[in-house]
């Protein structure tokens, strides 16, 4: 619903942990863009996306400032979840809400005052495209696996929150179909920022932000120069996924695997 109004989100640089300026002036994010954020643990990846999520105004540890369409965003964007243009899917893979899946989604739909009646089913169906373990509407949120929770939260961010920008913190660890998630998010023309250690997710995004010591140390724009590596990593990922499903199904994996 906000998508039309958001033309760009701008990150203005701050300081790293030693107080030195970061190695960029501004990073502009537009609908349909995909960015990945890479760097060692503790290098400030989560802090970077948190700054975006809360629209930092030189009031966080990093000193960054976030603008929407070139200006400080209105207070509504930050405080009213129904108007907030950003959804963050955290690193945490457990949902502690003591509700059934359909109850949880219905409550979220109600909180956003959305009238569409089939949205619960649509969200669960979409989530089931992201995970190999089928999510049932009557199961408790607390009983979902990490992968199921992540899948559901991503699907929810697309269909119910419907924000133009989605932030995903280390989505790969949870056992979900990363390429399906990225393709779907692109289909919906969402801007995406991944915090990731995963080669495939990194190579699939248009820009790569490299973090070091709490600050951005560089922004890579491969512009097609990594295509060869990307093809290879997609192939490897297919094999890994297939093997994972076979092993889960109790099969033996013999003979040719690189097909």
């Amino acid at each position: 619903m906000n998508s039309e109004m958001i033309e760009e989100i701008t990150v203005l640089s701050g300081k790293n942990r030693s107080g030195e300026p970061e190695n960029f002036d501004e990073i502009i994010i537009r609908p349909g863009d995909t960015l990945s954020i890479v760097g060692p643990t503790g290098s400030g990846k989560s802090a970077f996306i948190t700054d975006i999520e809360i629209f930092a105004r030189n009031d966080t540890a990093t000193g960054r400032t976030i603008l929407v369409n070139g200006e400080h965003p209105p207070e509504d964007y930050i405080r009213d979840p129904a108007k907030k243009p950003v959804a963050l899917i955290t690193q945490n893979t457990k949902c502690l809400a003591d509700l059934k899946v359909h109850e949880f989604l219905e409550m979220h739909i109600k909180s956003r005052r959305i009238a569409e009646t089939e949205l619960t089913g649509k969200t669960i169906d979409l989530a089931n495209e992201f995970t190999g373990e089928k999510i049932h509407p009557d199961v408790k949120m607390t009983a979902l696996s990490g992968g199921q929770t992540r899948s559901l939260m991503v699907a929810d961010a697309i269909t119910i929150s419907d924000t133009p920008l989605i932030l995903l913190d280390e989505v790969e660890n949870a056992g979900i179909f990363k390429d399906r998630v990225i393709e779907t998010l692109k289909e919906y023309n969402k801007a995406l920022i991944f915090v990731t250690h995963d080669p495939m997710v990194s190579l699939m995004s248009d820009r790569r932000i490299v973090m070091k010591n709490g600050g951005v140390s560089g922004v890579l724009e491969p512009n097609g120069r990594e295509d060869e590596a990307l093809l290879k990593v997609i192939e490897l990922d297919r094999i890994m996924c297939r093997m994972r499903e076979q092993i889960r199904a109790g099969e033996m994996i013999c003979g040719q695997v690189f097909t």
């Binding site: 540890a61 955290t90 502690l96 509700l99 109600k110």
Partner: protein, 235 residues
């Protein structure tokens, strides 16, 4: 002097929120801190050491902690005045889920953790219903949908409450809480401060030390497993 009263269930992040307030306001304003707990509390020592501010604690013991806070509040305001405080922060143990510690002429803040289960806001309804602001902590551990569902639950109890979401350890999202503190008026007449709302009446013979089980052995406000909600039996 401004009065800030902070309540919330155990370990929900009340002290973490207090620390953020002190970090942000402590340079320009003198802050005094009072902790009310039932049997043990360490915050006074901790905050005195970390920030060098005047602190105190009081144990409520047999008294409901919220009642204890009302009992000592006047002394506390006097003490904070002697310490030349611009802000007095009172942190309540929040163990009494029937009562609520907020007074008039104060900013009442309820703190609750986003990972505490979706029904907590309903279980601590009095603490939320009479507060001015709700600070939801551990927001770093939940995704957007969970935040919104939790927020909806709080609004079910208090439609008008001002909600702030924070990672209280990092201090994210504190901007609007700090603004509310700035906008909160000073105490104008300490003699006219009252508890907001009426506390639940609840005196029975267990309150005065009779330990038999079963309502048949007791007087005052009594309860049966089935049947009428409140019964009163004179002695």
């Amino acid at each position: 002097m401004k009065l800030i009263i902070i309540a919330g269930p155990p370990s929900c992040g009340k002290t973490a929120v207090v620390k953020q307030i002190i970090k942000n306001k402590g340079n320009s304003q003198q802050i005094a801190y009072l902790k009310i707990d039932v049997t043990r509390a360490f915050e006074d020592e901790e905050l005195k050491q970390e920030f060098g501010i005047p602190t105190k604690k009081v144990y409520s013991g047999d008294l409901c902690p919220d009642h204890a806070s009302v009992m000592v509040m006047k002394d506390a305001i006097e003490w904070a005045g002697e310490e030349r405080a611009d802000i007095l922060i009172v942190e309540s143990a929040g163990l009494c889920l029937r009562c609520s510690p907020y007074t008039t002429q104060s900013l009442g803040i309820v703190v609750t953790s986003a990972v505490n289960g979706i029904n907590t806001p309903l279980k601590m309804a009095p603490m939320i219903a009479l507060a001015d602001m709700a600070v939801v902590t551990r927001i770093d551990l939940v995704s957007q949908a969970e935040k919104e569902v939790f927020r909806e639950r709080i609004k079910e109890v208090n439609e008008d409450i001002d909600i702030i979401e924070t990672n209280a350890v990092q201090g994210t999202g504190m901007r609007y809480l700090l603004r509310a503190i700035e906008e909160c008026p000073d105490i104008h007449d300490p003699d006219k401060i009252n508890l907001r709302g009426a506390p639940p009446l609840g005196v029975c013979t267990i309150c005065i030390g009779k330990t038999d089980i079963g309502w048949q052995k007791h007087f005052g406000v009594i309860r049966k497993l089935d049947g009428a909600d409140y019964l009163y039996r004179g002695d």
